[in-house]
Structures are given as structure tokens and as C-alpha cells.
Amino acid sequence: MTTSDTATTSDSVARARVTEVLRANADAIADRWVQLQLEQAVLGSDLTESELHEEADALVAALAAALGGDVPVQRLAHGDQDLNRIVTDLSLRRARGGASPTVTSLAVLALKQALLESVRGTTGESDGLLAVALLINQLLDAAGALSFEVYVEGREAIIHRQSHQLLEMSTPVVRLWRQVLAVPLIGTLDTARTQVVMENLLQAIQDDEALVAIIDITGVPTVDTAVAQHLMQTVKAVRLMGADCVISGIRPPIAQTIAQLGIDLSTILTRATLADALAAAIKITDAPGPDGTDGR
């Protein structure tokens, strides 16, 4: 018998032993795991003890079922569908609940202790205990790594969604007067943002049959050439829709900076304040149309 045969045999013996222990002591292991997690005590706020018990029962059952199959131990956490789903759900729940990544992967790793204790308690023999410990380590380290991975992905998904929401929220088009719309811009104006502003604004111009669109940049801290270019693009598009565009909220330092940069905004109607811009807009909408009517 070669050494590798010996190793394979002791591995499968250990696997059978762990599976057996998991099946026979499922409740005890699950309870101990919950207890260990509660001792670590820094759980995400919205996980109740009964939810933890539910989680634990499901995970222990899935582990026993997965070990009963023939997928190699190292690949079980990723490869076994049920086990993968349970670890994923568990990690996502903690990620959303605001638990730290440490707490999340430690929660999975705490199962090691519960499991080892249980194996040692059921048999007096110390033979093969090392193989069992190694197997439990391999299995749950992989599960811990999966849990961490899922946690990070979960958080990234949240961040992505929030930045998307922020983009939508931060570009409202408001109706200020009959046929006068306004977009108060807050923050920076990059390419993505310009696209959203432009789409919202042009749609609103069509829906409201607006004649003037006011873009207020009071809340834009820096106007560099890129921001100016994006503003000019927006103005051009608004004009193509047959409406006029007024840019308001140009603060003194911004005015000086734009002048020094050498950006020519003279073709665009600009005003210092939103109030001035509204006055200018009302004058434009009140001007008589070419057919002698008042343009309404």
C-alpha cells in the first residue's frame, strides 16, 4: 500500500465519520454554532436568534448531504448547489444587515469549532482525529472564503445601485412657470450625468411644450473645461428642440475662473441667480410670436 492510498483511505474514513456525526448530532451542532455566534456578539442588528437557528439547521443539513456525495471536499462549498446557496444567502443577509466582513466570515468559521467538538465528543478514539480536523478545515475554509467573496459582491451591488439611484435623484427637472423648466444641478457634471440630465430635460421639454429651460449650476463646485463643454452640449440639444436655454447660478469665483480659462460662453444666455434667470425666461415666453399672438 502506497502512502497516497493510505491518505485516500483515511480521507474517506474521516469523511464518512464527519458525515455520520453531522447526521446524528445535527441539532446539537446547530445549537452550538448559534451559541458561538451569539458569543462573538457583533451580529448584524436585524438577525434574531430564531433566524440564526433556522440558518444553522439548514446549513448543517446541507453540509451532511454534500459530504454524503462524491464531490471533493475542497470544492464542496462552491460546487454543491444547496450548500453554495445557503452560504451565499447567509453572507448576503449579513452584508445587507450591515455586519462587517470579519463577522460574516467568522460566523461561517465558527462552525468548525462546533463540528470538531461534536466529533471529539462522540468517539473516544483519537485515531484519525487529525484527518477529521483537516477535512473540516478544508471544507469550512472554502465556505469562509465563499462567504467573504459573496459579502464583497453583495456590498458592491449595493454601492452600484446607490450610485445609480443618486444619479437619477440628483437630476430632477422642475416646472418653474408656464413653459419654463429648471434643472438644479448639484455636484459634478461628468459624461454619464450629462447624459441623464439631457435625456430628462429634453423629454420634459417635449412633454411640457416648454419654451425655456434653466440650468442652475449653483450647486456645482468646479466648472472646468469638461463641465463647460458638457453644459454647451446640453444647451445645443435644448436649442435643437426649439427651446431657449439659460444658465444660472454662476458665482463670482466661477465667473472669474471661466474667463481665465478662456471659455467663450457669450453665445449662451447666463444669469447670476435663478431669480434673474426666471425673470429672463418669463420675458422670453411673453414675447409676441411672429404671427402677432403672444406666443402661447
Binding site: 463646485p221 473645461t225 463670482p252 469665483p253 481665465q260 480659462l261 478662456g262
Partner: protein
């Protein structure tokens, strides 16, 4: 008239010498590799100008120049770094921006400073504009080796 120019009695090279502040907290390097980096650079520069006691107009100038130079490094130089130093000279405080990239370099520097000249899709006012917004400005570029821009703005507000 007792108005005096502090620099006139000193040797020119002495007056030109700019010592970085000894405090290492007053120097920081920021990556320029994405659109988001430009945002954090503007925040960092804004904070530094406040720290150096700049007025609102000078704050805006330096932040805008930093934004232009960093964007150039990102768009034309394929990314690089911006180093922000608070420097002192003859009792005044200044902000020095050093923007480095290892992109293709600038073929004709004079042309690059010309307003309206651009090799990309921008307005072509960034580099010349940044030079006008800052007090001291040097640019060196080697074809194939990248570009280094150093620009300083001094606080011209009288110390309280």
C-alpha cells in the same frame, strides 16, 4: 511709500528656491486613473487650499487647474499621478501641483498651449487655461516618455 518687494534684495536663485514644507502631512500623491479619481483630486486640492488659507477665488482657480491637468494626464497621458504640496516662500504659502504621466508626450508644446488646439474631443482650453490660473508653470515632455507639469499658486492674501 514704504511698500517694498521682499524679493528684490535677495539673490535671484535664493528667491526662486521653493522649499517643500517639512511636515510630511502637507504632501500627498493621488492616482489619476479614472473619472472618479478626478473627483477625489478636486476634493483633496480644495481641502489643501483651505488649509493654506486661500480665498474663495484662489481656491476655485487652483481646484480648476488641478482638474484640467489631471484630466489631461488621464485622457491624453493614459493616467498618472498628481502630487500636492504645500510650499512656503518668503512668508507666503503656496500650493504646488505636480502632475506626471508616462503617456506619449506632447509633440509641439507651444501648439498645445494654444487656445482651441486639441488632439482629442475637448475644448482645447485646458492646458493654456491652467497656466493662466496658476502663478508658476513649467511643463516638460519627452516624446514616448510622458509629461510632467509643475504648477504653483501663491496665496496673495495678506497674512492676518
Amino acid at each position: 511709500m514704504t511698500r517694498s518687494h521682499a524679493g528684490t534684495t535677495r539673490a535671484p536663485q535664493r528667491a526662486e528656491t521653493v522649499e517643500p514644507a517639512s511636515d510630511s502631512a502637507e504632501s500627498s500623491t493621488h492616482p489619476v486613473a479614472s473619472e472618479e479619481d478626478l473627483l477625489s483630486i478636486r476634493h483633496a486640492v480644495r481641502a489643501a487650499t483651505l488649509h493654506a488659507g486661500f480665498g474663495i477665488v484662489d481656491q476655485t482657480r487652483v481646484v480648476t487647474a488641478a482638474s484640467e491637468l489631471a484630466r489631461n494626464a488621464y485622457v491624453h497621458g493614459g493616467g498618472g499621478t498628481l502630487t500636492l504640496d504645500i510650499v512656503r516662500r518668503l512668508g507666503t504659502t503656496g500650493i504646488r501641483l505636480t502632475v506626471e504621466d508616462d503617456g506619449p508626450g506632447i509633440a509641439d508644446i507651444e501648439e498645445a498651449f494654444t487656445d482651441g488646439f486639441t488632439t482629442g474631443a475637448g475644448l482645447g482650453h485646458g492646458l493654456g487655461g491652467a497656466r493662466r490660473l496658476m502663478d508658476d508653470f513649467t511643463l516638460s515632455s519627452t516624446a514616448g516618455r510622458g509629461t510632467v507639469v509643475t504648477a504653483t499658486r501663491w496665496n496673495n492674501r495678506r497674512a492676518p
